[in-house]
């Protein structure tokens, strides 16, 4: 059985490497298209990790949702972002770099501490084996019902905001 453990370990390291590589691509590239594709690679790595943890359902949903999301971000970037020519002509200032680093570090450490302090790390052998659709659904609708509903309220707000922004249509305002 030792072969399988090595294969599983190799897959795990591969997925982790994919996640980090994508994240690195996302922050290093100047062009929005490359950055968002880096994000896509990173999310693919996360999907692989879900698969590794024994929940193909979450992995498939991750791919299904984020492919569409990534495409929409790219289209938005094409419509409002800089073209490659403009990027080459523009000198990027590094004035705000410390501020950006500080904000990112703060966000990361805050989330990291919050998650680590709440998680109880169970041994792999003690884990509940059931990660099926039924288990996920019951957890979402009983234990995490409030969070689930709040997320839908956020989405509803976003939809209403989009409708209000687009309500006037394409005609030029004559006021």
């Amino acid at each position: 059985m030792i072969v399988f453990e090595y294969v599983a370990e190799a897959l795990f390291l591969g997925f982790v490497a994919l996640t980090f590589m994508g994240g690195f691509m996302a922050i290093r590239s100047k062009m929005l298209m490359h950055a968002v594709l880096g994000l896509a690679v990173s999310l693919l790595g996360v999907a692989g990790l879900y698969f590794h943890l024994g929940s193909p359902f979450l992995a498939m949903m991750q791919i299904l949702i984020y492919v569409g999301a990534v495409c929409i971000i790219i289209v938005l970037g094409v419509m409002i972002g800089n073209t490659p020519d403009q990027l080459a002509a523009k000198k990027q200032s590094r004035k705000n770099l410390p501020l950006a680093l500080f904000t990112c570090a703060l966000g990361f450490i805050g989330l990291f501490v919050a998650i680590i302090s709440r998680t109880t790390f169970t041994a792999a052998s003690d884990k509940i084996g059931d990660m099926s659709i039924r288990f996920v659904g019951e957890n979402l609708l009983y234990q995490y019902c409030l969070a689930f509903e709040l997320i839908s309220v956020v989405l509803l707000t976003a939809i209403i905001g989009a409708i209000i922004l687009a309500r006037d249509g394409r005609e030029e305002k004559t006021s």
């Binding site: 298209m33 949903m61 495409c71």
Partner: protein, 328 residues
């Protein structure tokens, strides 16, 4: 060594599944390429390909060789890595759904309990490939085609999913095998006609085929997202499109047309696959038929049709299904 021998059947099975998937993808592209040109010809009162072989039956083989021999032109200002990546991304994911399609109750690669989600997830990567290809070509027409494709695919994915969800509610499973088996007395097309209609429309839009072929609208956008692609990189897009047609038609067959059920043929245990392929290719014939019969829709008509008619109707259908399933 003992471990290896105990694993051998499973390893052989994996290799056989992979080879069969590849055979289906390429064989289907050959058959559909020929059938499409021949049918298009006859719909337009002309014979179609006639020169190579009996009634042009070897035309696609020759065409394939020609495409392989062609030069791959990369535009000077294109984003080279992404330009090369896009056709591969359009083509590679189509092999995965072949593994979970139940060709008959005995012929299926793997019966996953998330089979439907696997198919939808890997089929949705196609739109990302089109977007990358259109953007990296650095060409206005390509970019227009790519952006249209995103708007269209993201919109039509919603009614497609919701119409399939109605069936999932009735059968209580995502496994394609169990869904196909659940319709032994009556096919779901009889019980869920509205969901079937919505799925068929969404299916045509998802595969980017006429009358919804706005991403490549040749009268306005030269060739849309694949304007700059030539030779084999162009044909990878076409192979991907035909494989996607096969996949969505298989899903329609499994969900609405009874999967592989049919009258058992004598002397043949695996008759299911005959009926399954007959149903799938009947649907594909329908796709080709409407492509060469109807004119292309305008883009605002396409989006309005999805958001104002298909999505509300599919939601009402889902709601009715849920209520009825609870009551009965």
């Amino acid at each position: 060594m003992e471990l290896f021998y105990s694993l051998l059947p499973e390893l052989i099975r994996m290799v056989v599944c992979a080879v069969c998937g590849a055979v289906i993808v390429f064989g289907n592209a050959l058959v559909m390429g020929y059938a499409e040109r021949k049918l298009a010809g006859h719909i337009m009162y002309r014979p179609g390909p006639m020169e190579v072989g009996f009634h042009g039956i070897l035309q696609l083989v020759i065409d394939g060789l020609k495409l392989m021999g062609k030069q791959l032109v990369i535009p000077k200002n294109a984003d080279k890595p992404l330009f090369m990546l896009a056709p591969l991304l359009a083509f590679a994911p189509v092999f995965v759904p072949m593994l979970v399609i139940p060709f008959s109750d005995k012929i299926q690669g793997f019966d996953l309990d998330v089979g439907l989600l696997l198919i939808l997830a890997f089929a949705s990567i196609n739109v990302l490939a089109i977007l990358i290809g259109g953007w990296s070509s650095n060409n206005k027409y390509s970019l227009f085609g790519a952006i249209r494709s995103v708007a269209q695919n993201v919109a039509y994915e919603i009614p497609m999913l919701i119409s399939l969800l109605a069936i999932v509610f009735m059968t209580n499973t995502f496994s394609l095998k169990e869904i196909a088996a659940a319709q032994s007395p009556v096919w779901f097309v009889v019980i869920q006609p509205l969901a079937f209609l919505i799925y068929i429309v969404a299916m045509v839009a998802e595969t980017n085929r006429a009358p919804f072929d706005l991403p490549e609208a040749e009268s306005e956008l030269t060739a849309g997202f694949h304007t700059e692609y030539s030779g084999m990189s162009f044909s990878l897009f076409v192979l991907g499109e035909y494989a996607n047609m096969f996949i969505v038609c298989s899903v329609a067959t499994v969900f609405f047309l009874g999967g592989s059920s049919g009258i058992p043929l004598p002397y043949f245990e695996y008759t299911g696959i005959v009926w399954f392929l007959l149903k799938v290719y009947a649907l594909m014939f329908f796709l080709v038929w409407i492509r060469w019969t109807y004119p292309r829709t305008r883009f605002d008509q396409l989006m309005n049709f999805c958001w104002k008619y298909l999505i509300p109707f599919s939601l009402v259908n889902l709601l009715l299904t849920v209520v009825l399933v609870k009551l009965i």
